[in-house]
């Protein structure tokens, strides 16, 4: 999925984070890492989700807490990465269910 619609990116990110950290309504700027809600796998699950869903590649240079600290920050990070990679990245196939 590659989209340029910032609201759509934000809602997709919000849905994933809400389902991952078991919270009902997450504020746009609520700090995930101060919330005490995230578990030990959350960071890599989020990284994998963003790469898969938005066709971006997250590397060492992107390891900055400011990039992923909230829904707004993550959406803005995705927008920046997508803009940089859009031309070179093919869309990811839809997720499949496996037994």
């Amino acid at each position: 999925m590659i989209t340029n619609d910032p609201n759509q990116v934000k809602e997709t990110v919000r849905k994933f984070i809400e389902s991952s950290i078991n919270i009902d309504a997450l504020g746009d700027d609520e700090n995930l890492f101060d919330s005490g809600l995230i578990n030990s796998l959350f960071a890599v699950q989020l990284t994998t989700f963003l790469e898969r869903k938005f066709g971006i590649e997250i590397g060492q240079d992107d390891l900055d807490i400011e990039n992923l600290k909230s829904v707004s920050a993550t959406a803005a990070f995705v927008a920046r990465k997508s803009a940089g990679q859009a031309a070179a990245t093919a869309p990811a196939a839809e997720e499949k269910a496996y037994p």
């Binding site: 994933f16 389902s19 991952s20 078991n22 009902d24 578990n39 030990s40 796998l41 960071a43 890599v44 699950q45 989020l46 990284t47 994998t48 989700f49 790469e51 898969r52 590397g59 060492q60 390891l63 900055d64 807490i65 997720e95 499949k96 496996y98 037994p99």
Partner: protein
């Protein structure tokens, strides 16, 4: 698992089985007794390209998919889980460098790791920090010249530690988790072999001591603050996949040895395989083998597809398969009777080795906590969505 494999994966699996049957299985008992795998055996693993199984070809690896990597681990684990342990650790460090290494680190380290010219170790566990990785006490501090760090601390139970040429060491810099590559020849770095383990005896475990060890800034992997949240989990994911699939191999070995014994061993003139009690043990073993194979395939496939569910699927595969291997090894000894209690029988080694798979890459209990919490969390989410009023 076999029914879901591609033709290429099937052919590779046959190649891995041949390799293990010729180069590993006949010597595994001897290596276990000597508590050492000879360099010549590791060289064979390197020459076959297996230590770079999942490393991209641009760095000298084979670039195989994760299902194929799982099959390689299964084939090696079928013969010797200690031997498979070399591949486990090499893949953990390589996967981290592929994901979080700088371009310079990938170019410098991945080709020798893929070719087996350098053996790697993953140095996370400490005498006082096992599953609770947040409490690691190893410390880095700036060297005062702005071009590197000084490392102090201790690590324990480090697989391949006796042999490794480079160690990915986890510690803290001003309380921020940090990972650095530390070459074996570094000043102030001591390596003490750990022998006499219950199983996994040839895996070359070691205790490491760092006393004012200089580490160049170029060896820092990831950034300070991200070593435990982002860097280590990538390696541990590969470690769990490898351990789950290696345990699947051990489970298969127990099943094959048990069924062979059931048709050849006689008690009171009757084949033991004709006894209902033995059939019960074999039935459970065979069913667990089938289930474990599917769980491992599902985890590997999810990793190949790079979906977030891959982490949970891998936890499930490792949890189930390692426990099933322990049960199968115990039952295999039971089926063999007294001969299974003697070191001349491979099932005695399987029995000792199986238990280790329940400890490494996260204990069974850690897996239960993570999975149990996750399943309760999913139920709460379903409950909340049912209660939420429908949108008009």
């Amino acid at each position: 698992m076999n029914m879901f494999l591609t033709e290429e994966q099937r052919q590779r699996y046959a190649e891995f089985q041949e390799f293990a049957a010729a180069n590993v299985a006949p010597f595994a008992g001897e290596w276990d007794r000597a508590q050492e795998i000879p360099e010549s055996a590791v060289s064979q693993l390197s020459r076959a390209g297996y230590l770079g199984a999942s490393t991209p070809s641009e760095y000298g690896g084979r670039g195989w998919d994760v299902v194929t990597f799982g099959l390689l681990n299964e084939a090696l684990g079928r013969s010797d889980s200690a031997f498979a342990g070399i591949l486990t650790v090499q893949s953990m460090v390589s996967a981290i460098l592929v994901k979080w290494g700088t371009a310079e680190q990938r170019s410098r380290w991945l080709p020798p790791l893929a070719k087996g010219q350098t053996i790697a170790a993953f140095a996370l566990t400490e005498p006082g920090a096992g599953s609770d990785i947040q409490s690691i006490a190893t410390e880095f501090r700036p060297n005062g010249r702005n071009d590197g760090l000084i490392l102090n601390g201790e690590k324990k139970w480090i697989t391949s530690g006796q042999r490794a040429g480079v160690f990915l060491v986890f510690g803290k810099l001003d309380q921020k988790p940090l990972a650095c590559l530390v070459p074996r020849e570094s000043d102030g770095f001591e390596i003490e072999p750990i022998n006499d383990l219950m199983g996994f005896r040839a895996a070359g475990l070691a205790q490491l001591r760092f006393h004012e060890v200089p580490v160049p800034a170029a060896n820092l992997v990831g950034k300070p603050g991200f070593a435990l949240s982002h860097v280590a989990p990538v390696g541990l994911q590969y470690g769990r996949i490898s351990t789950a699939c290696s345990s699947l191999g051990l489970l298969r070995a127990c099943f094959e040895e048990s069924t062979d014994c059931a048709v050849s061993r006689k008690v009171g003139g009757q084949r033991v395989g004709d006894l209902g009690m033995i059939q019960s043990l074999i039935a459970e073993m065979g069913a667990n083998l089938e289930a474990a194979g599917l769980l491992c395939w599902s985890a590997c496939r999810a990793e190949d597809n790079h979906i977030p569910e891959t982490f949970t699927k891998t936890f499930i595969a490792k949890y189930f398969t390692s426990r099933a291997a322990v049960q199968a090894a115990s039952d295999a000894v039971q089926i063999h009777g007294a001969s299974g209690c003697h070191e001349s029988s491979p099932v005695a080694r399987f029995y000792r080795g199986a238990k280790i798979s329940e400890i490494i890459e996260g204990t069974t209990q850690v897996h239960e906590v993570v999975l149990g919490k996750g399943f309760v969390h999913d139920a709460l989410r379903r409950q909340r969505s049912r209660k939420r009023p429908a949108t008009p």
